[in-house]
C-alpha cells in the first residue's frame, strides 16, 4: 500500500529524515515511536507532501507521490485522512461545517455532505454538537472533530500525527478509545505517530522505532518489547513496565 524509500529531509543544517525506508501493507496499522525531534512527524507529513521531502521515493498503491502535479496531489490528499496534533480545525466554522465543508467544496451535494458529516460525528461520539464552534469544545472533543473530518471521506490511508499529544491525560483516553474503535472496525491503512506505548501495544500490528531521522528498529510489538534491539526500544519497554 505504502512504500517509502531512502526518504531525506533537512531543515537547514538539521537533518530530520536521513534515508528512511518503510513499507506498510494495505489495512495494516503501523505505529511510529521515538523521541521528540527524531523525525516521526516529518515522515508522516511527507507521506501526503504537507512537507516536501528533499529526496527519496514515496509510492502509494504503486503511484509515485513525488511526481504528482498540483491537481493530482489534491486528488490524492482527498483519499488520505490526516489527524493533527493541534486539531487544526477551522475556527469560524461549526463542528458540522468543519467535518463536511471539504466534501461540498469537492463537489458533493450539500445535504448529502451534511448527512455524512452527522454520521461520522455520531461515530466519534459528538452527536448533538454539530452547531457548536470549536472553541466551545474540550480538547478531546476538538480532536474527535478532527478525526471525524479525516474519516468523512472514507480514506484509504489514515495518518495520525500524535493525536493525543496536546491533550491532558483525562482527555487522552476518550481519543484513544475512538482510535481503537476505528482500528478495529475499519480496514483503513493506518500510520500512527504516538508516544502512547500501551496503546501501541494494543492496536499496532507493527511498531517502527526512529532515532535521529532513521528507522532503528521495527517489528511486531510483542517481539520488539520482548527483546528490544535498539536503545530507543529498550527505553520504551521500560516505560511499558512502569
Amino acid at each position: 500500500m505504502l512504500e517509502i524509500r531512502d526518504l531525506r529531509k533537512s531543515y537547514g543544517k538539521l537533518v530530520a529524515l536521513d534515508g528512511v525506508d518503510l513499507t506498510v501493507s494495505r489495512g495494516e496499522t503501523v505505529v511510529i515511536m521515538g523521541p521528540s525531534g527524531c523525525g516521526k512527524s516529518t515522515l508522516i507529513r511527507c507521506v501526503n507532501r504537507l512537507t516536501e521531502p528533499d529526496s527519496g521515493t514515496i509510492l502509494v498503491k504503486g503511484q509515485d507521490i513525488m511526481a504528482l502535479d498540483s491537481g493530482e496531489l489534491q486528488e490524492f490528499r482527498r483519499n488520505v485522512g490526516f489527524v493533527f496534533q493541534q486539531f487544526n480545525l477551522i475556527g469560524r466554522l461549526t463542528v458540522l461545517e468543519n467535518v463536511m465543508f471539504h466534501l461540498v467544496l469537492g463537489g458533493m451535494d450539500l445535504e448529502e455532505a451534511r448527512s455524512r458529516g452527522r454520521v461520522v460525528l455520531d461515530k466519534v461520539g459528538l452527536k448533538g454538537a454539530e452547531q457548536r464552534r470549536p472553541h466551545e469544545l474540550s480538547g478531546g472533543q476538538q480532536q474527535r472533530v478532527g478525526i471525524a473530518r479525516a474519516l468523512v471521506t472514507n480514506p484509504e490511508i489514515m495518518l495520525w500525527d500524535e493525536p493525543t499529544a496536546s491533550l491532558d491525560p483525562i482527555l487522552v483516553s476518550e481519543v484513544l478509545e475512538v482510535m481503537e474503535e476505528l482500528v478495529r472496525t475499519t480496514a483503513t491503512t493506518m500510520l500512527i505517530v504516538t508516544h502512547e506505548v500501551s496503546f501501541a501495544l494494543r492496536v499496532a500490528e507493527r511498531i517502527v522505532f526512529m532515532d535521529k531521522g532513521q528507522v532503528v528498529e521495527e517489528g511486531v510489538p510483542k517481539e520488539i518489547f520482548a527483546d528490544p534491539q535498539s536503545e530507543i526500544a529498550r527505553l520504551y519497554k521500560r516505560l511499558l513496565v512502569t
Binding site: 528533499d54 477551522i90 471539504h102 467544496l105
Partner: protein, 701 residues
C-alpha cells in the same frame, strides 16, 4: 509559485486589482476635489466672486478704521454702486477689496487709482485684480506704448491699463481669455531684447556702444529682415555701484598686498592669461596679464620664502598635481607683504629709538648751554685781564724805568700769567683774544634754544600712541597667505567679470526675426574689441495669470499634491489590508517548497519581485488616473516607490496580516485547491479590506 494562482485565484486577484485602482483613483481624486472646492469657495468668500472686485487697497493696520470711512466716502461720492470688502490683515497691513460699478470700470479710472485713493489715510499701495484680464509682467518701457496699441486692437480686449512695469489687458468676456492670451503671446514673440553686458572694469559709453552694436547688426543682416533700436536704459542703483566700487578697491588692495610676480618668458614659449606655472619650490603661479614682454602673475598655491630680496626661480608649465612640463619662464617674486610687515616693524623700532634720542639730545643741549655760559664768563675775565695788562705794560713802558732788569721781570711774569690763563687759546696775544671776542655767543645761545625748543616739540609728540596705532595697523593687516589672496582676487574677478553682478549693459530692441544671441557674441566681441563681453536675450514681457488665476493655479497644485499623497496612502492601505494576506499565505507555502538546488534561484526571491510589481502597478495606476502631481516626484520615481512599498509589504506580510497556518495546513491535507483555501480559510478571517469584501460573494462557508 505560479501554481498558486493558476487554479483560479488569479481571477480574484485581477478583479481586486481593477477595483483597487478604480476606487483608489476615485478616492484620491474625490478627496482632492473636495479640498479644491472647499478652498475655492473659501477664496471666493475672501476675495469675492469672479469680477466682483477690481483693486486691492493695502492700508496700514492702525489706520484701517479711518481708511474704511474715507473709502466709503470716496465710493459714495465718485463711484455710486461700488463694492467694498475688508479681508485679511497680514503683517500689519489691512487689505480692502474695492469693486467699481460697471460704468466706472474704465481705463481712465483704473490708471487713475492713485488720484482717487492716494489720500486715503495709511495707504501703502494697491494691486489691480480686474477680471477678466490677462497680465503682462515686466514690460520693457521701449515697447510699452506699441504693445498697448497692438493689444487694444485685438478683438475681445476692452482696454489695456498700465500698472507699474506691468500691463493689465482687460477683456470683454471671460471665455476669450485663452484666445487673447495666445494672441498677446504672439505679439510679444515679435520682439526680442538683445543685451550686451560688459564686465566691471570696462566702463563703456553705453549710448555710443549701442549705436556701434546697431551698426554691426545692420551690417550683418539682410535688408528688411528685422528692425533694430537702441533702447539702453539706466544702470543700477547707487548701492550696487558703491558695492562694485568697493569690490574693485578691495581687489586692488589685495593685488598690491600680494607678492608681486613678474615673468620673463622663454622666447620659444607662448604664454597665455590664465595659464598655470609651477616653480621649483612648488609655488603655483597663474598668469594674470601679458603686456608685450612684460608678463605678470599671481600666486594661487603655496607661499613664497619671506625675504626682502627678489626671489628668482625657474618656472615650468603645470600639467597637474605632481606633474610639470617644460621650462617656460624665469619668475621673479617680490614678497610685498613681508616687506610691508618688515617696514612696519622697523618703524616701531625707529620710534622707540627716537623717543630715547630726544631725551639724550635735550640733556646735551642743556650741557652745551652751561658750557657756553662758562666760556662767556671766562672770556669777560680775559678781556678785563687784557685791559689790565695793557695798562701795566704802558706803565712799565712810559713810566720811570727803575731798571731794565725789573722791566724784564714784570714782562716775563705777565707773559707767564697770560699763558697760564689763555692756555694757547690766547697765546697769540691780543689778536687771538679779539677773535674770541668776535664769536657770536648770543647767536649760539639762540641756536641752542631753537634746538632745545625742537627737542621739546619732539618730546611732546605722543610716540607711544603712534607706536600703539602702528602696532594696531600691523595686527589688522589681513592674515592671508598668497594662495588665499590669489583665490580671493579670482573670486572678486568672477563677480566683476559679470558672472555674478553684471557690469555695464547695452540693450537693443529687435522687432521681426529673432537673432541668435550666442552666435552674435563672438561677432560683437571682435567688432567691439572686447573679449569679455557677453550677450543675452530676453523677452519684452511675460504673460502670467491674474491674481485669482495664480491662486487657483496654486490650488490646483495643492489638489494634485493631495491626490498624490492620497494615492500613496491608499496604496499602502490596500497593500496592508489585502495583499499582505496573499503574500503571507504565499510565504507559508513557499517555505514548504522543495529547496531549489540552483544557487541563483535560492538568492532570487520571486515574491519580492511580485510584491514590487504589484505595488508599482497599483500606485502608478492610481497616481496617474487621479491626475496626481507631487513636485520633484517623477513618474519613474512613483513606479520605484510602488515597487519599494510592494517589496516592504512582502517582507513584513506576516506582521501585517498573519495567516492561521494550522487551518491552512488542514485545508491542504483535505485536498482543497489553493483558490478554495484562500476563499474559505485564509481570506474570511483576514483584515477587513476590499479582498475580504469581494470574497464574501465567492465563499461558500
Amino acid at each position: 509559485m505560479l501554481v498558486f494562482f493558476r487554479d483560479g485565484f488569479y481571477k480574484d486577484l485581477i478583479i481586486l486589482l481593477v477595483l483597487t485602482v478604480i476606487i483608489g483613483a476615485v478616492f484620491a481624486q474625490g478627496v482632492a476635489w473636495a479640498i479644491d472646492t472647499y478652498f475655492g469657495d473659501t477664496l471666493d468668500g475672501m476675495i469675492g466672486e469672479y469680477g466682483e472686485y477690481d483693486v486691492i487697497l493695502h492700508i496700514r493696520e492702525e489706520a484701517k478704521e479711518t481708511a474704511l470711512r474715507e473709502l466709503e466716502r470716496i465710493g459714495e461720492q465718485s463711484f455710486p454702486g461700488y463694492k467694498l470688502n475688508q479681508t485679511l490683515t497680514i503683517a500689519g497691513q489691512a487689505n480692502f477689496f474695492f469693486g467699481f460699478p460697471e460704468t466706472h470700470r474704465t481705463k481712465e479710472v483704473l490708471e487713475g487709482i492713485t488720484s482717487y485713493f492716494g489720500a486715503v489715510p495709511g495707504i501703502n499701495g494697491y494691486t489691480l485684480m480686474v477680471e477678466p484680464s490677462v497680465l503682462i509682467r515686466g514690460v520693457h518701457p521701449a515697447v510699452r506704448e506699441d504693445l498697448m496699441e497692438q493689444i487694444e486692437a485685438l478683438s475681445g480686449v476692452r482696454f489695456v491699463v498700465k500698472d507699474g512695469v506691468n500691463l493689465v489687458v482687460v477683456l470683454a468676456e471671460e471665455d476669450g481669455s485663452a484666445d487673447i492670451t495666445r494672441k498677446v503671446e504672439d505679439i510679444l514673440q515679435k520682439y526680442q531684447i538683445l543685451e550686451l553686458r560688459f564686465p566691471m572694469g570696462f566702463e563703456v559709453d553705453t549710448q555710443e556702444v549701442g549705436e556701434q552694436a546697431l551698426a554691426i547688426l545692420h551690417s550683418h543682416s539682410s535688408p528688411g529682415q528685422s528692425e533694430y533700436k537702441n533702447v539702453t536704459s539706466a544702470q543700477y542703483g547707487e548701492d550696487l555701484d558703491a558695492f562694485l566700487k568697493a569690490l574693485v578697491e578691495m581687489r586692488d588692495f589685495l593685488g598690491s598686498y600680494a607678492s608681486q610676480v613678474r615673468l620673463v618668458p622663454d622666447p620659444q614659449v607662448n604664454l597665455g592669461v590664465g595659464e598655470l606655472i609651477i616653480l621649483e619650490d612648488d609655488l603655483l603661479i597663474e598668469v594674470t596679464g601679458i603686456y608685450g614682454d612684460h608678463v605678470e602673475g599671481m600666486i594661487v598655491e603655496g607661499s613664497p620664502v619671506q625675504s626682502m630680496d627678489t626671489i628668482v626661480q625657474a618656472g615650468y608649465r603645470y600639467l597637474g598635481p605632481g606633474e610639470r612640463g617644460e621650462f617656460v619662464a624665469d619668475v621673479e617674486i617680490e614678497n610685498e607683504r613681508y616687506r610691508l610687515a618688515y617696514a612696519v616693524d622697523e618703524s616701531l623700532r625707529l620710534l622707540a629709538e627716537l623717543e630715547e634720542l630726544s631725551v639724550q639730545a635735550s640733556t646735551a643741549v642743556n650741557n652745551a648751554e652751561g658750557v657756553l655760559t662758562t666760556f662767556q664768563e671766562a672770556l669777560m675775565q680775559l678781556e678785563v685781564l687784557q685791559v689790565q695788562m695793557r695798562q701795566l705794560n704802558e706803565g712799565i713802558t712810559n713810566g720811570d724805568a727803575k731798571s731794565s732788569g725789573e722791566q724784564f721781570l714784570v714782562t716775563l711774569l705777565l707773559n707767564g700769567l697770560f699763558q697760564t690763563l689763555a692756555q694757547g687759546v690766547i697765546h697769540t696775544g691780543e689778536e687771538s683774544l679779539d677773535s674770541l671776542q668776535n664769536l657770536d655767543i648770543e647767536e649760539m645761545r639762540e641756536s641752542l634754544a631753537g634746538i632745545s625748543a625742537q627737542i621739546s616739540n619732539v618730546q611732546e609728540i605722543d610716540v607711544a600712541a603712534i607706536m600703539e596705532q602702528i602696532g594696531f595697523v600691523r595686527d589688522t593687516l589681513p592674515n592671508l597667505n598668497d594662495a588665499e589672496i590669489g583665490q580671493s582676487i579670482r573670486l572678486i574677478n568672477t563677480y566683476l567679470g559679470g558672472q555674478v553682478i553684471p557690469g555695464e549693459r547695452v540693450q537693443l530692441l529687435i522687432e521681426g526675426q529673432h537673432v541668435d544671441e550666442k552666435a552674435l557674441e563672438s561677432l560683437f566681441r571682435e567688432e567691439l574689441e572686447n573679449p569679455y563681453m557677453h550677450t543675452y536675450s530676453t523677452s519684452v514681457g511675460m504673460v502670467t495669470p491674474d491674481a485669482r488665476g495664480e491662486v487657483f493655479r496654486i490650488l490646483k497644485e495643492v489638489r494634485s499634491i493631495v491626490a498624490g499623497m492620497l494615492s500613496i496612502i491608499f496604496t499602502m492601505i490596500v497593500l496592508v489590508l489585502d495583499h499582505a494576506t496573499v503574500f503571507s499565505t504565499l510565504k507559508f507555502l513557499r517555505a514548504n517548497d522543495r529547496p531549489n538546488k540552483r544557487r541563483w534561484a535560492r538568492l532570487f526571491n520571486p515574491l519580492l519581485v511580485l510584491g514590487g510589481v504589484l505595488g508599482s502597478l497599483i500606485l502608478t495606476s492610481v497616481y496617474y488616473l487621479s491626475r496626481s502631481q507631487i513636485p520633484f516626484v517623477s513618474l519613474p520615481f512613483v513606479v520605484f516607490l510602488g515597487f519599494a512599498l510592494g517589496g516592504l509589504i512582502v517582507v513584513f506580510a506576516e506582521r501585517f496580516s498573519p495567516v492561521h497556518s494550522m487551518e491552512l495546513m488542514a485545508g491542504q491535507s483535505l485536498g482543497l485547491s489553493n483558490v478554495q483555501i484562500m476563499r474559505e480559510i485564509v481570506i474570511p478571517p483576514s483584515r477587513p479590506g476590499l479582498l475580504n469584501l469581494l470574497n464574501r460573494f465567492r465563499q461558500q462557508f
